[in-house]
Every structure is written in structure tokens, then in C-alpha cells.
Amino acid sequence: MALAVRASSLLGPRSRYVLRRSGLAVLVVLGSVTITFLITRLVPSDPAARWAGSRATVEQIAIARERLGLDQPLYVQYTRYLGDLLSGNLGVSFSTKRDIASDLGTLLPATLEPIILATLLAFLVGIPIGVLGAARPGSIFDQVARLVSVVGVSLPTYWLALLLQLLFFKQLNWLPLSGRVSDAIALASPVHPITGFYLLDAVLTGNWTAFGDVALHLVMPTLTLAIYPAGLAIRMTRSAMGDVLAERYVLAARALGIGERQILFRFALRNAILPTITVLGLSFAYSITGALLVEVVFSWPGLGSYTAAAVASLDFPVVVATTLVVTVFYIVVNLIVDLVHALLDPRI
């Protein structure tokens, strides 16, 4: 710690800022791990019986209690858990007895793939609509854009997911109902996971048949997850642009005869985009929790389905581990958003 302080005094203000933020982040992670750990121990249940199974014999439960160290005092269990965490060991699932860390290795890419696409989609669609809406305030385009953004922000995602399924699967039969890959592809030319991001893996292995199939499977989950951040992006861009366009330098630029397009996208957007980036970054971090319901609806084998199943079956180690992962993810994305902000805004 002393070393860190001395090191930080040698660094510039921006680096000190990063260090302070990182230190705080570690504290937040530790706090959330501790709280989750305590909650799982306070919930009225018997982890040993949970581990041994609902039909376990008395002997099997006794063996489980000893093996899981549940016969030890709480502080011993806690310090042991923290020690395991530091060595990267997230424990073993009660219901499947599988190593949670390796489970998460395959689940995280599955969850992140549609979330990343959805956020990109929100950027690419939401920002231009917001800009154009602000350019012609009160026009029909602006009205429609506003309506879309209100609907996007307020629509419950699981409901939208069901609606899309009804339309694109049941009525139109254009898109697959659920899952990441269809059975036919899994049989004939399966995706061989390298990164766990199937779209990328299909490209890396040159498996174009699978690529199309994977892309089709991604459409509905991505649209479902994109609607909220897209609505947000429209609103934020629209209002920030509205403010910026009223600034004097915009007037000056217009007076100098600079093209409207250049004014909008080169000058005004540059200054208006910061809050949108912040909000979309946070929504990206937050959507990992929103993916929970969406994944259940689309039978998507990701972190959401995994957590939902763990909560329903009181699989404590999984609940603690996924809470940890989501917390760390949220904090890291938050940190990145702040850094991007700092890079884009010379005042920070």
C-alpha cells in the first residue's frame, strides 16, 4: 500500500485517479463477496443436504458436511473461501459438482456476445436518430424518434422477447425460436469453440454454414437487448444535441458557412456524445443482469440461465460466484467508461 502511495505520488493526476478508482473497486468487490457469502449462510437451508441431493441418506449428508467444511465455524469457512477466491478457485456447483470457474469460462462469452452486439446496435442506430431528431426539432421524424425512445426504454424486455418469438418464429417463421445453434448445424458442421463467441469462432474456423445459423440465432436476443440502450441513446443524444446546438459556437460555425452535416456530426456531436457514452457504458454493464430473463426465454446457455437455475435450486457457490463476476464486470466497465470519458474530455 505504501509502495502504491509513493508510486502514485510520482505519477500524474490522471494515473492517480485510476489508482484511486481501482483501490475503491477492490473494496467494493470484497464487500459484495462478503455480503453474498453471509446471505447464503443465513438463508434457512442446509448446504450439506443440498450438496448430497434431495434423496440423500444420513451418511451421505454427514460426509458432505465434512467435505464442504460446513462443520467448521463461520469465520474459518469465510477465510477459506477468500483464500480459494484469490487462487482463482470459485468452488464447485452443488447441483452439478462441476468447477464453477470453468463453467463461467464458457457461459460468459455466450452472454456477452448478444450484449456486445446489442450495445453496438444501440450506438449505431440510437445516436444518428438522436442527432437527426435534434436537427429538426418538432418534425415528424423527431416525434417518431421520441415515441420509439420512450417505448424502447419502458418496454419490459422479457415481454418483447416473447413478442418477437411470436412474430418471427410462429407467424413469419423467419428466425429460430431459441438456442445458439440449430440442431442441424450442431450435427452437420458444429462450431468449434475457440473464444466462445460463436460468430467469431465460425469466422476463425471458416465455418460459413455455421456463421449464418449463429447470426440468425443472435437476431432476436440482440434486438431484445438492444431496445433499451437504443431508446436511451436516442433520448440522451437528442437532449444533449439540443443543448449544444443552442451554443454560440454553432451559430458562429453556421455564420462561417460550414455545412450543416459537418456542424452536426463533427462539432456538435463531439461535445454532445459524452453523456451518451457514459449512459450506454453503464447500460452495457447493467445488461448482464438484464440478460437473465432474456436468456431464460431464448434457452440461451449463458450466465443468466445459469444464475436463474442456481437461485431456484439454492446452489449457493454458484450464486456467490455469479454475483462476484457481475460485480467485477460492472466495476470494470464503469472504470473503462470513466477512462474513456477522461480521454475524450480534456477537462478531466
Binding site: 438463508v43 437451508s45 442446509d46 443436504a49 443440498r50 441431493g53 434431495s54 434423496r55 441418506t57 444420513v58 451418511e59 451421505q60 460426509i63 447441483s95 452439478t96 459438482k97 462441476r98 468447477d99 452486439l117 453496438l120 446496435l121 450506438f123 449505431l124 416473447l162 418469438q165 418464429f169 410462429k170 417463421n173 423467419w174 428466425l175 429460430p176 425460436l177 431459441s178 438456442g179 440449430s182 440442431d183 442441424a184 448445424i185 450442431a186 450435427l187 452437420a188 458442421s189 458444429p190 460468430l199 454454414t209 449464418g212 445459423d213 447470426a215 440468425l216 443472435l218 437476431v219 440482440t222 431464460v296 426465454v297 434457452s299 446457455p301 440461465s305 445459469y306 437455475a309 439454492l314
Partner: protein, 542 residues
């Protein structure tokens, strides 16, 4: 700046690809006609073959928690049962003999019932090519015993296992037990290749490896998504035309999605469809709803070690106050029947001789008055498993009836482990009524009668703390007679079940039905309640 532009371009390209794929790509969902939809699309993208492969798709509402045949004790049996085999197979109810040969062709037992000899089917190979012999049987069951997890306890009577010769296995028991029946268990009785599994833990199995001798081999396994099974060409039973080459067991946890899949022909077999949707499915000619008595029932143990349920009159009053038919109609849409005693009617011969209580509040009131509670007024606590809506509704309906006769029933939802611990603790502080389902590890009335009501020093499931030496003696004897004198054994089980009903040891709510929804063109499907929600793919065809 240019980096960002590059990123934006990449993202744009991705989105465009997605949209293009959505609009003009291959048709993802096959038409709703008969025939396997998957075979159609697979045929289109796979190298041309003269005959499209036969594919069976099973939409499974749960994941497969543990594919290790020694320790799995859950819905993993849907996969395991097609990949591994047991020595014997319990045939669907009504078959004779009830226990039929599988890896064993014949078996015999000594006069004292303590030595069992199984003769194995010759020339049977595991998927790895090694022979299924006496040594492999000994190894498999000893591995299950040694791991001591899941259903390993079914082998508790077995003291030693000896490979007498290549095809003869001898089991020495420490007490009499129907070993032919135990060997048919859908949990913990699978035979596996020693060569393939020596030193392997359940991580190896759960990575999608298999070591069985069954008709199908695990071709690929994507955890929580699907298991793909391919037929084993060297299967001892041989192959007939029309049988399936490929079986896909898909995990589809959402009930609406499963229903859409079975109706569109994307799946051939599924279960756990909300009962309110069954009428719509029944009127769809492309699917069949198959309802069949299950070896599972719902009951409410009554705490016989605690006032006031200690009193048989109070227990009888509670049994008479339960609204059986209302509960069956409203929670199961009629897909259940009022139970007769603790053994499901389809698992016991002569179930109709076991008496039942009928819903009669006047009688309940009278019994309570006889017990010394003329005005009711006794507070009782019932626990059920949180999240189970059937149990919840049954408990609430019961509470409303009891309120009419002055009994104040407190209904508490608890996690299974929590209510189980509560019941196993001090019986005088435990819940008065404990509601749960029971199903057997292997198909025998004794599983219900022993686990739920046999006297034990520290009960594990006899959590009404029922004690009756006469009952214990009756079921213990019936269990030893089950393989040698089935008729007498069944008569004794019926007598024992009658004792339970007269003592009102529990409220026997209903015998459940398994409801499966299958494609109408799936031939040869017979639900076997001894292996719940298992589809033996080898037995069906299109």
C-alpha cells in the same frame, strides 16, 4: 479517431451480416409437415447421402446435472438410459414377468435368498470394444458402492460380488432383498467399461464421454444445451429399419418454447407442459398427449410424535377434511387420482382393496369432538417446498376447509433442505404436517413403505415418526418374498398399506400421472413409469 471509425465500420459490417442473414439466409425453421425437420436441413447442408438420417429430438425441460452413471440420480437418466444398460429391465406395468432380461439373460437365487447368480448375455461389447463380462459387472457396481453418492444405497444389501467365470456373477447378500429388481433400477445400476473409466471421475463423464453398452453413444455434449447421441452399430440387439440413427436431447427450460417446438415438429417428445394448455394440444392432430399413471404421489406426513397429531382421531379428522377431488381438479386438471395408501395404485396388485378417506367435513368435526376438540381451535403448521405451485394450491385449499371446522392451519413455504432439516430435528418442535412427493429409486412398493413409515432410530424420510412393529414385520417379509412369491408379497403390502390408512399415518393426496406430448407419427412409445421421463429411443421409430 481512425481506430474508432474502424470499430464502427466493423460493427456496422456485423449488423449488416445479421440483417442479411435474417432476410435471405437458409430457412432456419423447417416446415410443419411430418417427418423429422432436422433430417431435412441436415440433409441439405451435410454431404449428400441417399437416405436422410433418422433424427429423434427430445425437448427436455431440465438440464442433465450428472452424466456419471454411478452417481447420477436425476433427470440425467434421460441421456444415461440410452447409453448404458442394466442387468435387468423393469417392464411397463402389467407385463409378465415384471423383471425382464437385459445384460443378464437369466438369474437364480439360493434357498436362503442370500446368494444371487446372474448369467450374462454372451458377445456383448461396450462402445470402446471391450467385452461386457462378469469382471465389468463387478467393477461397475463396486465403483458405484465405493463412490457412495446418488442412489448407491440401493446396493446396501450386497456384501460381496464374485466373477465366477467370464459370464457368471455371484452376489452375496447380508440380508434378503429382491436383487433382480434392484438391478433394474434407473439410478446407480448401470454397467460400464472398466477399460474406459478406470480412474475417471465424474468430470470425465460430464465432459461428454461415455463408456456404456447401450444402443446409443454420446457423440457430442454441450452442457446445458444439448446432447447428441449416435447409434452404436455394434449393439447386440441389432438394428431394424425405421429406428433412429441420431437422438438429440435438447435442454429447453421454457414451457412455451417446448410447446411451440412440439407443435411445429421441431421436437418429437417433451413433457411438463402446463395442464391448462393440454386441451389445445389434444385437438392438434399432429401431436399426441399420452397420460399414464406415474410411480409418484403427493402425501402429507402427519407428525405422530407431537400433540395433537399424535392422536389417531385428530389424524383421521384431518384425512376426512382434505378436499381430494377439488385439489386434483384445480391443481392437476384432473390428471391424477386420489391415492389409496402410500403405494401408487399401478405399482401394487390389489390396490382397490386399500381403503380411502373421502372429503366429509361433518365426519371430521365429529372425530375432532371425540378427540377432545369439540370447537376445533387447535393450531397446526404445514410446510411445503417453496416454488411448487401444486403443493402451494393444495395447502391453501386444505387450509380453507380446515378453517370451516375451527382448525387454524399455518401454511409455510420452505426450501426443501430447510423443511427437511426441521422435520429431522426434534420431532416435538417439527412441523405438524409435512407435504412432499415421493417416487421410488427402483420400482417396488417397499421403497414407499420402508422409507416413509418403517421405524428407524434416526428417521431420514419417516418424518411423521410413525412406529408400528406389526407393520414393520409385514413389509420386511413382503420384501423378501417379492422375487419368489409375488402374490403373497403383494397381499402383505396391501395389508400393510391398509394399516397405514386406518392409522391415518399421512394424508394420501393423489397418485400423479406422467403426461408426455409426442409427435403423432412417433411409433412404439410406451411410457414406463419405472424410468420417469426416459424415452428409450431404441424402442421407437417413425
Amino acid at each position: 479517431m481512425s481506430d474508432r471509425r474502424l470499430l464502427a465500420c466493423g460493427a456496422l459490417a456485423l449488423s449488416v451480416v445479421m440483417v442479411v442473414a435474417a432476410c435471405g439466409g437458409t430457412t432456419p425453421v423447417p416446415s410443419t409437415g411430418s417427418g423429422s425437420p432436422v433430417s431435412g436441413t441436415a440433409g441439405a447442408s451435410a454431404p449428400a447421402s441417399p437416405v436422410a438420417p433418422q433424427v429423434l429430438v427430445y425437448a427436455n425441460p431440465t438440464t442433465f446435472p450428472d452424466l456419471d452413471p454411478s452417481t447420477g440420480f436425476s433427470n440425467d437418466s434421460a441421456v444415461v438410459s440410452n447409453v448404458y444398460e442394466t442387468l435387468t429391465r423393469y417392464a411397463p406395468p402389467g407385463s409378465t414377468p415384471q423383471v425382464q432380461p437385459l445384460l443378464a439373460t437369466s438369474w437364480s437365487t439360493s434357498a436362503d435368498g442370500l446368494t444371487w447368480t446372474f448369467r450374462l448375455r454372451p458377445d456383448v461389447k461396450f462402445h470402446d470394444g471391450t467385452p461386457v463380462n462378469a469382471a465389468a459387472v463387478k467393477y461397475s457396481i463396486e465403483r458405484t458402492q465405493k463412490l457412495g453418492q446418488g442412489a448407491a444405497f440401493i446396493w446396501d444389501p450386497v456384501k460381496t460380488i464374485t466373477a465366477v467365470d467370464d459370464l457368471t456373477v455371484e452376489f452375496t447378500l447380508s440380508y434378503q432383498a429382491p436383487l433382480d429388481l434392484i438391478a433394474s433400477s434407473g439410478y446407480g445400476a448401470w454397467i460400464m467399461s472398466p477399460a474406459a473409466t478406470e480412474g475417471k471421475d465424474n468430470g470425465w463423464f460430464n465432459a461428454g464421454h461415455d463408456a456404456g453398452s447401450g444402443p446409443y453413444m454420446i457423440d457430442s455434449y454441450e452442457k446445458d444445451q444439448r446432447a447428441i447421441l449416435k447409434r452404436f452399430d455394434g449393439y447386440w440387439g441389432g438394428w431394424r429399419p425405421g429406428q433412429f440413427d441420431t437422438v438429440i436431447l435438447k435442454v429447453v427450460e421454457d414451457a412455451t418454447a417446448r410447446q411451440q417446438m412440439i407443435q411445429s415438429g421441431e421436437a418429437d417428445y417433451t413433457y411438463t407442459i402446463p395442464t391448462e394448455n393440454l386441451p389445445a394440444l389434444k385437438s392438434d392432430p399432429s401431436v399426441k398427449v399420452v397420460a399414464n399413471p406415474a410411480y409418484q404421489n403427493l402425501l402429507i406426513l402427519l407428525n405422530t410424535a407431537k400433540v395433537p397429531t399424535k392422536d389417531v382421531l385428530v389424524r383421521q379428522a384431518l384425512s376426512a377434511a382434505f378436499p381430494y377431488q377439488t385439489v386434483i381438479d384445480s391443481t392437476m386438471a384432473g390428471y391424477a387420482t386420489q391415492a389409496r395408501g402410500t403405494v401408487p395404485a399401478s405399482l401394487i396388485d390389489g390396490a382397490d382393496q386399500v381403503p380411502q378417506y373421502s372429503y366429509d367435513l361433518d365426519k371430521a368435526k365429529l372425530l375432532l369432538a371425540q378427540a377432545g376438540y369439540p370447537n376445533g381451535g387447535l393450531p397446526l403448521t404445514l410446510t411445503y417446498t417453496a416454488g411448487d405451485t401444486v403443493e402451494q394450491q393444495a395447502a391453501e385449499l386444505f387450509r380453507a376447509e380446515l378453517a370451516k371446522i375451527g382448525v387454524d392451519l399455518q401454511v409455510k413455504a420452505m426450501a426443501w433442505e430447510a423443511q427437511w432439516s426441521l422435520a429431522k430435528g426434534d420431532p416435538t418442535k417439527a412441523q405438524d404436517l409435512f407435504m412432499f412427493y415421493w417416487w421410488p429409486s427402483y420400482a417396488t412398493p417397499y421403497d414407499f413403505m420402508f422409507n416413509l413409515f418403517h421405524s428407524e432410530k434416526t428417521p431420514n424420510f419417516n418424518l411423521g415418526y410413525y412406529r408400528n412393529p406389526k407393520y414393520d414385520a409385514l413389509i420386511d417379509e413382503a420384501n423378501t418374498l417379492l422375487s419368489s412369491d409375488r402374490a403373497k408379497a403383494m397381499a402383505e403390502f396391501v395389508a400393510a398399506d391398509t394399516i397405514l390408512v386406518n392409522d391415518a399415518a399421512a394424508i394420501f393426496v393423489f397418485d400423479q400421472q406422467n403426461i408426455h406430448v409426442i409427435r403423432a407419427d412417433l411409433k412404439g412409445f410406451v411410457d414406463n413409469p419405472a424410468y420417469p421421463h426416459v424415452l428409450f429411443a431404441y424402442e421407437v421409430s417413425r
